[in-house]
């Protein structure tokens, strides 16, 4: 069974400092990985997809299959980055369905 682990429940950084939100996964097939962000009292929003290798709001994430990780990084944190971040894995069509399995989330707090 697939599993997503986000070891940090809370990450507090100062504005302008680098940010790294950790995500590790276990899945026997080829996963598709995503990062979702949830600002206070708002819906889950897709932030990044590993297959598109894009950078959104200055965030990047690289899939490391050797380390089974998909850490989210940003070089300089901004106050508006404060939110809950969820890493999620999809089995993809080869897994017979594409439900998302979420990690427990990391609350990022950017302090001034």
């Amino acid at each position: 069974a697939q599993r997503v682990t986000q070891p940090e429940k809370l990450l507090s950084v100062f504005k302008g400092a680098p940010v790294e939100l950790k995500c590790n996964y276990s899945y026997s097939g080829s996963p598709e990985l995503f990062w979702y962000v949830q600002y206070s009292r708002q819906r889950l929003q897709l932030l990044l997809r590993h297959i598109s290798r894009e950078s959104i709001k200055g965030f990047t994430a690289d899939l490391n299959k050797g380390e089974t990780s998909f850490h989210l990084k940003k070089p300089f944190a901004q106050e508006e980055d404060s939110a809950m971040y969820y890493c999620a894995l999809s089995e993809g069509i080869t897994g017979g369905g594409n439900k998302l399995t979420f990690g427990t989330g990391t609350q990022l707090k950017v302090e001034l």
Binding site: F34, Q42, S90
Partner: protein, 114 residues
């Protein structure tokens, strides 16, 4: 940008009552899902729906739960006899394809069972 719309935003119900949570997906989406998030816990998959039938469901989605798309647009989640432990945020989501596009989530319905 198109949105997934969920109603109501908050529902309070008595234990044992039936509730129906409603979702209006984005028109070109083909796959629909329900997830729930109990306060302080992670987002959990409930059920996926494609071509007017359930394609996958989790162990949470027992006989008390059902989904349907009665008029080809609205997508509903029904809980027949609510329990206290059904109190959670329920999210509807959709995507247009199976492979890695990413989901669009609704803003959620907060269900409180008293």
């Amino acid at each position: 940008e198109p949105e997934v719309t969920q109603t109501p935003s908050h529902q309070v119900t008595q234990m044992g009552q039936e509730v129906i949570l409603r979702c209006v997906p984005i028109s070109n989406h083909l796959y629909f899902y329900w997830y729930r998030q109990i306060l302080g816990q992670k987002v959990e998959f409930l059920v996926s729906f494609y071509n007017n039938e359930i394609s996958e469901k989790s162990e949470i989605f027992d006989d008390q739960f059902s989904v349907e798309r009665p008029d080809g647009s609205n997508f509903t989640l029904k809980i027949r006899s609510t329990k206290l432990e059904d109190s959670a945020m329920y999210f509807c989501a959709g995507n247009p394809t199976v492979i890695g596009y990413g989901y669009t989530f609704g803003s959620g319905t907060r269900l409180t069972v008293v």
